[in-house]
Structures are given as structure tokens and as C-alpha cells.
């Protein structure tokens, strides 16, 4: 589904990604871990098309398309979804209205007619149940006055509505207490299928207790320095990141 080859990117003069290689197949969950400043969020931003980051080298293939040539909204319409670390507030726009606009633009891209009100409502009800979100939240202005947990749950609701092929969860666990974390993780798990894939970007292993990854990659200084199964996450939790740093230094 996604093939990243030697991806390099910078912001301003600062080189952040220094050659990332990653392959994600349908049905898989990949965790990207690493210490602060290793480039985890940059990778998520580059994949979703944030313009502050300049790609200086490498290739990204998504479902046979050159992802780096697509505009951010085209990437979204092709099926890339990013759950933001800090979802923004849009005053006066309800989540419902926001989703209706998004869904219909995505449908237009696929050559489908806009969803009528009844079908939209039906879809919404179904997804609300799936991610355990209350309609009163969806009627309110998007993210305005939401608690941290509500914001993240709202992100997962949007993910459910748009049914992406590849979801990127950027530090979704940050700022969540254990109950909120569980609800969010349950939502993500409910949406897992053999046709979609998930990249979980996280600093802590905690989230991975609930969203169990197939692969864990450790990002350090803009490179993936170690990959393994879910047990790698546990090892990191127990030993911290220092041994990775030492290993990486030795390799250089």
C-alpha cells in the first residue's frame, strides 16, 4: 500500500528526515517510536502533505501513485487520514457540517453523487456507535471547548466516517487519561480491517497495549535505526531509548 524509499525532508535549513525506508501493507499496523525530536511527527506531516516541510529526496508510493506529487486534499481523497496531535478549533462549524463537506468532496473525487441527508445520518449514527461518541458533541463547533479526550475521540470519529485506506495517528495518546485512551484505542481497533493500514506514531509504549502493532520501528535522528515486532516496544519501555542511541552511535 505504502512504500517509502530513502525519504529526506527539511524545515527551513534544518534537515530532519535523513533517509526513511518503510513498507506498509494492507491489514498491517506499524508503530513508529522514538525519542523527542527524532522526526516522528515530521514523517507524519510529510506524508499528509504539510507545506512547511520541504522534501529534499526520496520517493513515496501510495497505491501506485507518487504521493509527493499530490496536493494534501488529493492525498486525503485518495485515502490518507491523519489523526492530529493537536486538532484545531473551527468556530461556528459543527463536526456534522464539517464531515458532510469532507465526505461529499471525497465522494465527488470518486465520481459518486453526494450523500443524501438520510443516508448521511444513517452512516453517522452507525459510526457514532462504533467509536462511542455522543451526538451532542458533534453538534458543537468543531473542537471548540472540547477536552483533550473529546478532541481525540472526535478525530477517530472522523476517521470512521471517511473510511481511509491508510490512517496515521500522530501522538494520539498525548494528553489522554487511561479511560480516554482505552476508548480511543477501541475505536481504532474496531476500524481495523484487512483492507486498511495504520501507522501509529507514539513516544510511549502505553498506547500499544491497546492498539497492538504488527511492526515497531524506532526512529532516531531522522533514520529508522531498528525494526521489530511488538516485543520491541516492550523492550523500549523497559530499557528506555539510551541503548538505541548507543547502538546507533556505534553503527555510524
Amino acid at each position: 500500500m505504502l512504500t517509502i524509499k530513502n525519504l529526506q525532508a527539511k524545515i527551513g535549513d534544518k534537515e530532519i528526515l535523513k533517509g526513511i525506508n518503510l513498507k506498509v501493507k494492507a491489514g498491517e499496523v506499524h508503530a513508529i517510536m522514538g525519542p523527542n525530536g527524532s522526526g516522528k511527527s515530521t514523517l507524519a506531516s510529510v506524508l499528509s502533505g504539510r507545506e512547511e516541510y520541504e522534501v529534499t529526496g526520496g520517493e513515496v508510493d501510495f497505491e501506485g501513485k507518487n504521493l509527493l506529487e499530490l496536493e494534501p486534499e488529493e492525498r486525503a481523497r485518495e485515502g490518507i487520514f491523519m489523526a492530529f496531535q493537536y486538532p484545531v478549533e473551527i468556530p461556528g462549524v459543527s463536526t456534522i457540517n464539517f464531515m458532510k463537506t469532507a465526505l461529499n468532496q471525497i465522494r465527488e473525487h470518486r465520481g459518486q453523487p453526494p450523500l443524501d441527508a438520510v443516508s448521511f445520518l444513517q452512516l453517522m449514527k452507525e459510526k457514532m456507535k462504533l467509536v462511542q461518541i455522543d451526538q451532542s458533541l458533534l453538534n458543537r463547533s468543531l473542537n471548540e471547548g472540547f477536552s483533550g479526550g473529546e478532541k481525540k475521540r472526535n478525530e477517530i470519529f472522523q476517521m470512521a466516517m471517511l473510511e481511509p485506506k491508510l490512517s496515521i495517528l500522530d501522538e494520539t495518546d498525548s494528553g489522554l487519561d487511561i479511560d480516554a485512551l482505552r476508548i480511543v484505542a477501541n475505536g481504532v481497533n474496531a476500524l481495523r480491517s484487512k483492507n486498511n493500514a495504520t501507522i501509529v506514531v507514539t513516544h510511549y509504549q502505553r498506547l500499544l497495549d491497546y492498539i497492538v502493532p504488527d511492526f515497531v520501528h524506532v526512529l532516531y535522528k531522522g533514520r529508522i535505526v531498528k525494526s521489530g515486532g511488538k516485543e520491541l516496544a516492550l523492550e523500549l519501555e523497559a530499557k528506555g531509548y539510551d541503548w538505541i542511541k548507543t547502538e546507533a552511535a556505534l553503527a555510524e
Binding site: E51, A76, F98, Q105
Partner: protein, 481 residues
């Protein structure tokens, strides 16, 4: 150059939609302004002596006045002798029904998307249409007449209901109120008149569409709405003009008069030609709008969506004279390219327990300047007056300006006045968030702006709200910052 700036450069790729003209034979006064022109207009309209006298008084007052310089707008001096003060589409006689109206004229209105016949049949909105200076057709007149409601062109009102016109004309905006009101009083050519009798709730929206068509013409219409005791009326006003290189002057006066327990709701969607991307052409919109809550428990509510005009100078105001009367002002003012707007309101609390509410949402894009200017004045005898004001500004890009000039004068210690103001920018983060959900940039801006203006748009009657939403999106198309 960042992408944002590039997008900014592409501002308003959308052309002004209403920039067409129609070839209508017109009956015009010669250019310029003097007492003879005032007499010419009055004679053309077959007016009674008292009205001519009133006009002449206004004209003489105007001669003594100077153009105001305090608004935060800049434009080259207007040559008042280079304007045609009267232009009427030639018609053999006054149209009694739509069937008798010049088909070219009807086409004009159809292009505006307000086909009168269609309106008549379907929507139940009574329309008075004013082209250049003259009212051409009023729909639904008979149906309204059954309820005692008078809704007609101003000239007709002068002929048919002189006692009402004489009583209320200038009672809210005196003929020498200000420079542009005096000019209007001297040369106004037509407009709408509306009277709702005691206890009658007007069953439909009353609506006027204004259109400037002829070149070098000023439009000076006058609207007078009187709501008698316990009555209610909702009134809509829409405006467009052709694209022309030279600036055209529009100086209207609107007077609202609410008696005891009466309520008037006045909504405007103003889309005069704003000039081109370089700031050439466009309408100078210098308008005086004021409502008088004369009776106790009366209410006047202004809602405006201002997207057009090169320059807007406009402060729909409420004089809260009756005890327990209330005034409201809801405004969205959008400026783009080189547009300048200095708009706001004045709430004058005279009666006891009077209340006012101001919600102003300014949106500036391009190289435009957008000012809110509002006054809350609580007089000595206005015990327990209350006001709430909220003035928000939204900036798009870094070449525009937003300014807020609130004036608060309190002479009674029991008054309670609140003022809130915010300035925000459409954030790159907000836009990116939308993009990441598959929403393109234009739809994203429309979504964000409409969300921002929601509180005001909600005040508009349904069919107008939809139009206003589209208009906001069109006006700001491509202007992201």
C-alpha cells in the same frame, strides 16, 4: 514566496457576477446639481408644493455642509457636478401590473436571479424593484392591501398617501442630518414606502431590489417604513450594479419608525460592484439608515451582509426613545482587494429599561481596510439601560487592515454596558486541517468564514441566508492567508 502569498496574489479570480448592463432607453436629467435640477426632479414626479419646498430646504442645507472626513476611508474628491441626478427607464406610463412592464426591464431582474414573476408565484415575498432611480414594479400589492398594508414605491406613496408621507418623512433622519442625507433629501428620486397598520402582522417578507444601470448616474433612493402600534414587519433589501470603470455614487436614506409594541426587522444583502482587482471603479455607498423606537416596548433589528461597494460608509442606528424598547444590529462586512468599509452602528438609549445588542463581524482580505465604528450612548434619563456589543475581526493575509472604533458615552450610572472584541486570522492550521479531510481550499475558506459569521447569518430570513452564504464564499474566493 510562500504558497500563502501566491494564493493571496490570485485573490478574486472570480469576476463580479452582476457586471452586465441592459440597453434601456432612459429619461435623464442633465449632469450637475443646482436648484433647477431639484425642481426638475420634483416636477418630473409631479410632486406637491410642500415636498418641493422640503427638497429645496435640504439642498440649501447641503450647500452649507461639508463632506465628512472622519471615516477611515480614502477616495479622490467627488465632483458633484459631474453626476446625473435623475435617470429613469423610459416607460409610457406607470405599470399597473407586471404584464405592462418593459420586457427588457424584466429581463434585467431575471438576470439578478430575482425574477419578479417567479417571486410573485412561488416564494410569497413581495418585491419592489428600483432600477436606477425609479421603482418599476411592486408585487403582491393587492393582497397586502386587503390587510391594510401599504407597500409601494415612494412616488406612489406621495400621491396616494400624502398625509402619511408628510407626517413621517424626515422624522427619523432630518433632511439636514448629515451631508449625504441632505443630498439625498434634495434629489431622491424614488424608493419604497411601507406602512403596517395597528396590530397587523405582515404575513410575508417585503423586499426591495436596487439596481444601478445607467452610467454616470447616482442613485438616491429613500425608504420609509412605518410600523403602527403592535404591528410587525420583516423587510429585505438587495442591491447590485454593473461593472464600470468610473465610480458611481449611491447615497440612500432609510427611515424606520416603530410605534408602541411594534417590531421592524430590516435585512440587507449589499452587493454593489466593488471595483476591479486594481481598485478601479465600484460604488461609493454613503448611506444613512436609522430607526426610531418611538413607542414603549417597540423593537428594531438591523441585519446586514455587506460584500460589495468600493467604499462603504454606513451606520444603521437605533434611537431607543420608548421605555423598554430595544435595538439590535447584526453585521457581516467583507472587504477584499482595495475595498474600504467604515461601518457600524449607533445605539442611543433615551427611554428607561432600553436594551441594545451589537454583533459585528468584519472580514478583511486582499489590500482592503475594514473598520467598525460604533457608538453606545446612554442618556441621563435612560435608567437601567443595557447594551451588549461584540466586535470581531477576521484577517486573511497580511496586507489588509481591521480597525475598531468603539465609542461609549454613559450619562446614567444604572447603565450596564458590555463590550467584547476579538481579532483573529484564518490560520494555516485551520486550512490544513480541512485539506487533510479532503476539503479543497476554497470550500475550506467558505466553511470557516460562514462559521465565523454564523451568528449574524442566522438572523437572516431563510432564502436570504442561503444567498448570503454563497456571496461570502464568492467574495473571498481564493483569498487565503
Amino acid at each position: 514566496m510562500s504558497k500563502d502569498n501566491q494564493v493571496l496574489e490570485e485573490i478574486t479570480s472570480k469576476e463580479y457576477e452582476h457586471g452586465w448592463t441592459v440597453n434601456l432607453e432612459t429619461d435623464e436629467a442633465p449632469k450637475g446639481l443646482n436648484e433647477d435640477i431639484v425642481r426638475f426632479i420634483s416636477a418630473k414626479k409631479g410632486e406637491p408644493e410642500w415636498l418641493l419646498e422640503w427638497r429645496l430646504k435640504a439642498f440649501r442645507a447641503w450647500l452649507q455642509m461639508t463632506e465628512p472626513t472622519w471615516p477611515n476611508v480614502h477616495y479622490p474628491a467627488i465632483n458633484y457636478q459631474d453626476i446625473i441626478y435623475y435617470s429613469a427607464p423610459k416607460q409610457k406610463k406607470t405599470a399597473n401590473s407586471l404584464d405592462e412592464v418593459d420586457p427588457e426591464l424584466l429581463k434585467t431582474f431575471e438576470k439578478l436571479g430575482i425574477s419578479l414573476t417567479e417571486q410573485k408565484r412561488l416564494t410569497g415575498v413581495a418585491v419592489d424593484a428600483v432600477l436606477d432611480s425609479v421603482s418599476v414594479a411592486t408585487t403582491f400589492k393587492e393582497k397586502l392591501a386587503e390587510m391594510g398594508i401599504i407597500f409601494c414605491s415612494f412616488s406612489e406613496a406621495v400621491k396616494e398617501h400624502p398625509e402619511l408621507v408628510k407626517k413621517y418623512l424626515g422624522s427619523v433622519v432630518p433632511m439636514n442630518d448629515n451631508y449625504f442625507a441632505a443630498l439625498n433629501s434634495a434629489v431622491f428620486s424614488d424608493g419604497s414606502f411601507c406602512y403596517i397598520p395597528k396590530g397587523v402582522r405582515c404575513p410575508m417578507e417585503l423586499s426591495t431590489y436596487f439596481r444601478i444601470n445607467a452610467a454616470n448616474t447616482g442613485q438616491f433612493e429613500r425608504t420609509l417604513i412605518v410600523a403602527d402600534e403592535g404591528s410587525y414587519v420583516s423587510y429585505l433589501e438587495g442591491c447590485t450594479a454593473p461593472m464600470r470603470d468610473e465610480n458611481q455614487l449611491h447615497a440612500a436614506v432609510v427611515e424606520l419608525y416603530a410605534l408602541k409594541d411594534a417590531e421592524i426587522k430590516y435585512s440587507t444583502v449589499q452587493n454593489w460592484y466593488p471595483g476591479d482587482k486594481e481598485g478601479k471603479g465600484g460604488i461609493y455607498n454613503f448611506v444613512t439608515k436609522r430607526g426610531l423606537c418611538a413607542g414603549d416596548h417597540s423593537k428594531i433589528s438591523w441585519t446586514q451582509v455587506e460584500t460589495g461597494s468600493a467604499i462603504t460608509w454606513k451606520y444603521p442606528s437605533c434611537i431607543l426613545k420608548g421605555d423598554y424598547s430595544s435595538g439590535e444590529f447584526y453585521s457581516v462586512a467583507v472587504t477584499n482587494n482595495y475595498q474600504q468599509a467604515d461601518t457600524g452602528t449607533k445605539m442611543v438609549h433615551i427611554g428607561k429599561h432600553t436594551r441594545s445588542r451589537i454583533v459585528s463581524k468584519g472580514i478583511s482580505a486582499g489590500k482592503s481596510q475594514n473598520s467598525y465604528r460604533g457608538q453606545v450612548h446612554v442618556l441621563k434619563r435612560a435608567a437601567h439601560a443595557r447594551n451588549f456589543s461584540q466586535c470581531d475581526s477576521l484577517l486573511m493575509g497580511d496586507q489588509c487592515g481591521a480597525h475598531t472604533f468603539p465609542y461609549i458615552d454613559i450619562e446614567n450610572p444604572t447603565a450596564k454596558v458590555e463590550h467584547e472584541a476579538t481579532t483573529s486570522k484564518i490560520g494555516e492550521d485551520q486550512i490544513f486541517y480541512c485539506l487533510q479531510r479532503g476539503i479543497d481550499e476554497e470550500a475550506a475558506v467558505a466553511l470557516i468564514v460562514n462559521g465565523y459569521a454564523k451568528e449574524v447569518l442566522n438572523q437572516l430570513p431563510m432564502e436570504f441566508a442561503v444567498e448570503a452564504q454563497k456571496l461570502l464564499a464568492l467574495t473571498l474566493e481564493g483569498s487565503v492567508g
